[in-house]
Symmetry: C2
Subunit: 114 residues, 2 copies
DNA sequence: TCAACACATCATTACATACTGATACGATGA
DNA sequence: TCATCGTATCAGTATGTAATGATGTGTTGA
């Protein structure tokens, strides 16, 4: 009755957040918040390269954050669960209050400190 | 009235999620969900090294996800906003349904594929 | 069957960042 | 003041992973 010990649950949760922790993937997900889109439509919406979008979509799909449905030569992607959008909205809300802090968080972006 | 263009908002959101996208930081944050803790208490709760915890706390603090309060030689940390906990809870809920997918997401962890 | 299209995958490069061990800093009590 | 404790910072290393350009795969229409 305990197939996953606490540490593994945390690893999974971290992996889930990592799916959201990239600007390109967020662009893809936010584009999908409105409606299902084909890969080329996502490319157009995000201004990212086709292979880049495909890579991110593969990751998001493997992570279960998006679902895919083939139609002819097109593949439609959509959010797999409304909670994906909710996570993004909650982050947007939180960001409004902590934006200054996030701006200042340069510890791991290496744009200062030495 | 538009100091941040859309791309920058997305970058900030990604950075916020990146604060949650690490198992060690999640351990720290989950420990803080219950109550404010000192650094050494967090070290005990998470089993991480002291310098490692300190580094993560600095990042979390810079990102505005935790708040700090010095008391004598101790520094108490706490979640800066209840929505931080909500994000984690929402992820936990989502994870329950997409766990299989997250398990399979090995694209960027390099444990298979060739 | 062939050409064009939509999408996926691969190898490579470049960079971000998690962790460690050593050390520095600041507060406290003797 | 000095030793100790709690915490922060640093340099170094190792690894993860985002982006690109080239190529592969599968579908459609002529």
């Amino acid at each position: 009755m305990n197939p996953i010990i606490q540490t593994d649950v945390i690893e999974l949760k971290a992996k889930l957040f990592r799916g959201l922790a990239d600007a390109s993937r967020l662009k893809v997900l936010e584009a999908l918040c409105a409606e299902p889109l084909t890969v080329s439509a996502i490319v157009a919406a995000t201004q990212l390269s086709q292979s880049n979008v495909s890579n991110h979509l593969s990751c998001l799909h493997d992570c279960g954050l998006v679902a895919r449905q083939q139609q002819g030569r097109f593949v439609y992607y959509r959010l797999s669960d409304p909670r994906v959008g909710e996570l993004i909205n909650l982050a947007t809300s939180l960001l409004a209050d902590v934006a200054q802090g996030v701006y200042a968080c340069t510890r791991y972006t290496g744009e200062m400190n030495q």
